[in-house]
């Protein structure tokens, strides 16, 4: 990991971080919606499924990226309505409250917490339950993430990491870095000056360029 590159971190909650690449990719994720009145042709915008030049009839199902849904949403005058993706619906919330640790949040997400928090921007009667479930899920998965990322007698954690959502993965990496730094220190290697990872990357690239 580079020691001098600190990217703009993502937000968590109702607000995104404007310059965060993570948040831009998160808000690129789509959610199901519905046209509440006839919409003008948006082929340019919504791509396949809507045939060229036709307007979109009322009641049509839409797949809308979060950023657009947020931009078009108005609580008073509904032009489009937004539905909950299934993992935030009641059936899944029950699963989460039973045992959140078994769920593959990467497959279901991969931005379970951040995307879920963003959904609270849309007035939905289930919002309090969604917020509660997200929080409880984090709490009940916390211990395993901490233990596996900071366990000195490292077993292979890749099976666990594969099932973590993006926020959990970043947390896992932070824990692992602390463990590695400490182990390095114990072995007496902490004072060693090492090559920058930025440089190593370019080195590799150079060789492949020369091969090709």
């Amino acid at each position: 990991m580079s020691e001098a590159y600190f990217p703009v971190g993502p937000g968590l909650g109702l607000e995104e971080n404007f310059l965060s690449l993570d948040d831009i990719l998160m808000s690129q994720e789509k959610l199901p919606g519905r046209a509440e009145s006839t919409l003008p042709p948006l082929t340019f915008a919504l791509g396949q499924g809507v045939s060229t030049g036709d307007s979109i009839p009322e009641g049509s199902k839409l797949e809308i990226p979060l950023w657009l849904a947020k931009g078009l949403y108005e609580s008073k005058r509904r032009i489009i309505s937004v539905e909950l993706p299934k993992i935030y619906k009641e059936a899944w919330r029950t699963v989460f409250s039973a045992d959140a640790s078994v769920v593959d949040l990467h497959k279901m997400g991969p931005y379970y917490y951040r995307f879920g928090s963003q959904l609270l921007n849309f007035d939905n009667p289930e919002n309090p339950e969604i917020a509660q479930t997200i929080l409880q899920t984090f709490i009940s998965r916390f211990r395993r993430i901490m233990d596996s990322s900071q366990n000195a007698y490292n077993e292979d954690a890749s099976a666990l990491v594969a099932r973590l959502d993006e926020l959990e993965r970043a947390l896992f990496r932070a824990g692992q870095k602390e463990l590695n730094d400490f182990q390095c220190w114990e072995k007496g290697q902490a004072s060693q000056i090492t090559a920058s990872s930025l440089v190593q990357n370019y080195g590799k690239r150079k060789f492949t360029d020369m091969d090709g």
Partner: protein
């Protein structure tokens, strides 16, 4: 779909992990700006129509406006994150970047790097007494003034403190002042050997 090209710029940059700098995508940027120009012009036209009674256009105007803002955000985030990576290069690589890295930068980015380099140098001259202070040195607390290093590739002649020069030849080992070789270690020319 609108905003897709801009999102692709962000996606590619995000994939380049650990602060690595991928090639500058001038064409992607140009196409995004062109998309924004078209969106803006159509909106200009439709806004005046909407004002004169075509309220059915309001949704479309709003929609295009969202796309414009989205594109703007993607571009700004793309350029800003690249600057963060380029700034990191100054700290980890030094003030002269090899061609392989410069090829990945736009002319404006090279210019920005040069200005950053100058501001940093001016600042470093102003702190730490008369001779200034090189803040990029001793990133880790130093243990001793001299360290043992091994040369990882042929580098050529290298001048040390007392004015003498030594030859940095692949696999040769040297005992050098730490401050003289820290940067070469970070560049991958030398390897720090712990006793």
């Amino acid at each position: 779909m609108a905003g897709e090209r801009a999102a692709e710029l962000v996606r590619e940059l995000h994939r380049a992990a650990g602060g690595h700098l991928p090639p500058f995508r001038a064409e992607g940027l140009r196409q995004t700006l062109e998309e924004m120009r078209v969106l803006y012009e159509r909106n200009q036209a439709d806004v005046s129509e909407a004002k004169s009674g075509r309220t059915d256009l309001i949704f479309l105007v709003r929609f295009r406006h969202c796309c414009l803002l989205r594109n703007q955000r993607c571009i700004l985030a793309y350029l800003y994150d690249r600057l963060l990576r380029i700034r990191a290069l100054r700290w980890e690589y030094g003030s002269v970047l090899p061609n392989t890295i410069q090829f990945h930068m736009s002319a404006e980015e090279v210019e920005w790097f040069n200005r950053y380099k100058k501001s940093l140098a001016t600042y470093m001259r102003s702190v730490g007494g008369e001779e200034g202070l090189d803040l990029t040195q001793d990133i880790k607390p130093p243990k001793s003034l001299y360290i043992e290093v091994r040369c990882l590739r042929d580098y050529g002649e290298f001048e040390i403190d007392d004015g003498t020069t030594i030859l940095l030849k692949k696999n040769s080992q040297h005992f050098l002042p730490r401050w003289k070789c820290e940067q070469l270690i970070r560049q991958g020319v030398l390897e720090h050997i712990l006793s």
